[in-house]
Amino acid sequence: MKNFIKEFLLLVKAEFIREIIYIKRYPFESISFLFFMYIILMAIFLGMSQLSGGGGLNINHERMIIGYCLMQFVMSNQMGWAGQISNESQMGTLEQLSISGHSLATVLFARGIAQFPRQSASFFILMIAYAAAMPKMDLHLDHFYIAFFFLFLIALGVYGIAYLFAGLTLLFKRIGFFFQIINFAFLGLFWQNRDILPDGSIRAILYDFFPLTLGMKNLLLVFSSNTSSLIYPFLNQCIYSGIFTIAGFYLFRVMEKKARQMALLSQY
């Protein structure tokens, strides 16, 4: 166990250094991504304002902004692993990862941990940028240190789904368009108002137990003025994210085993 932890930490170190090298070598990539994401939501707000003839639509801006920032956070994780599997199997580096002695599931988890600081930084930078553009919003950004822990738990839950996508990519390779469709479904979930969903309906169940929607609900709570009762949401998020991570991890291991049997880990 001690050896496993030591090797895992070395793996996280390797991935973290690689991440830092890429950020330093291609700074414009990260900056342009943030700028692009920022512009899109501002354009959506502008479009809504135009549609309403300047009268304003009855929308919850705080929910929209948190949902949008969380969406970019989730998407970059969720699609990231599948994209990396697809790229690396073409490059040939997937072979090296597969024969490194680590399971690919462990490598991906280490990657997730190593990329978490950058992805959470993107989340907070976007939040700050929107808060600066819309000062009337009721967002308590000074609660960011609590949000950071929630964000980490959300990320763990997202890794569960990312594992599923990555495993399917291992087996079927080019299925990016299939994931795009699923992403649209996620997009709908983010901006769904839970209050109007009847309790017990499938959408309500999905909304309450899915780590990302559950995370959004909790983040709204964190960034609101009252943060006195966060213990229950925190534990709730821990349990559901944990279930998703463990389930995703084991599902991926099964798919990885199948890929090894079918010789699908080779360069293609």
Binding site: Y22, I99, L265, S266
Partner: protein, 313 residues
């Protein structure tokens, strides 16, 4: 460290189909410490599948892979360079790549810098160590992939086509490194290749694979001996009619009549066959223009092994 492969089998079945494809059939061989073993075979023979099963990239259908007679796979003792030069991250420099793979394979941090610098120097990539790998030539990339495989100081090295598409100078550098790894550092090397000259220069033993079967195995000298021939190419002045009794004793092929020369190939079958032919030429005062024994080179051995369907080693 010894590597032993016992009755290795790999069968693929297509989804929604009962048809099965046997890529590797009952292959067994052994590589001793410090030995270079080459797997030769035509495309699709099963060489890469075999090497990938040993590396752990493909799960065998059945069979055993043993390291020092133990089935427990310790990945620290084994490294592989598979399918050419695209085994490294192109946006990282050679030095960054080596640091990444060293951390990935659990090399202690204090050893990484020194080992990386040494490998880059030995494989003559140190001049380009700060350039992104995407700017390196194919030969350089191949050497970098080998360096990345060697960063863990493995006891067993698997090399799939290590000099394919590499320029002469780089190929020589790679060959020297492989030889030194086996002979000076005692590493066991398994390589697959189509390049017979590489096998001739490097391999201690050779296994020839065809259709997933190991059809021949032995040292290069042993293989040449097994396939030894008494095949001669002869040119005689004038029109020469092959004597009828020769056709009963020897195998005469490739008879060609040019204006003043008769050319043919004869398989004497025995060591003494040629002396009776020469005696006939001398007795009939025939002028021999050209006489050459066909060489028992590795290419001949290889081709004849593939032709002989019953020649299972």
């Amino acid at each position: 460290m010894d590597l032993k492969v016992e009755a290795l089998y790999k069968t693929y079945s297509k989804p929604l189909s009962k048809k099965k494809f046997e890529a590797v059939k009952n292959i067994s061989f052994e590589i001793a410490t410090g030995e270079i073993y080459a797997l030769l075979g035509p495309n699709g023979a099963g060489k890469s599948t075999t090497i990938k099963m040993i590396a752990g990239l493909i799960t065998p259908t059945s069979g055993k892979i043993l390291f020092n007679n133990s089935a427990h796979k310790n990945y620290q003792v084994l490294s592989a360079v598979l399918e050419g030069s695209r085994n490294v991250y192109w946006r990282l420099t050679p030095l960054e790549n080596l640091h990444y793979f060293a951390n990935l394979r659990g090399v202690p941090s204090r050893q990484i810098k020194e080992k990386s610098e040494l490998l880059l120097k030995e494989l003559e990539i140190d001049a380009k160590k700060a350039n992104q790998s995407r700017h390196l030539s194919r030969g350089m990339l191949q050497k970098l992939a080998i360096a990345a495989a060697l960063i863990t100081d493995p006891q067993i090295l698997l090399l799939d086509e290590p000099t394919l598409g590499v320029d002469v100078a780089s190929a020589r550098n790679i060959k020297e490194k492989i030889r030194s790894l086996a002979k000076k550092e005692g590493k066991s090397v398994l390589l697959t290749t189509h390049q017979l000259d590489l096998v001739d220069q490097l391999a201690d033993r050779v296994g020839i694979i065809q259709n997933g079967n190991l059809v021949r195995e032995g040292t290069i000298e042993e293989l040449k001996k097994i396939s030894q021939n008494y095949l001669y190419h002869i040119s005689i002045q004038g029109k020469f009619k092959i004597p009828a009794e020769w056709k009963k004793i020897f195998i005469i092929t490739e008879i060609k009549y040019h204006s003043e020369i008769t050319e043919f190939e004869v398989d004497c079958k025995t060591k003494t066959g040629m002396s009776s032919i020469l005696e006939y030429f001398s007795k009939n005062k025939l002028d021999i223009i050209f006489l050459q024994k066909k060489r028992d080179n590795l290419e001949e051995v290889f081709l004849r092994s593939l032709e002989s369907k019953s020649g299972v080693a």
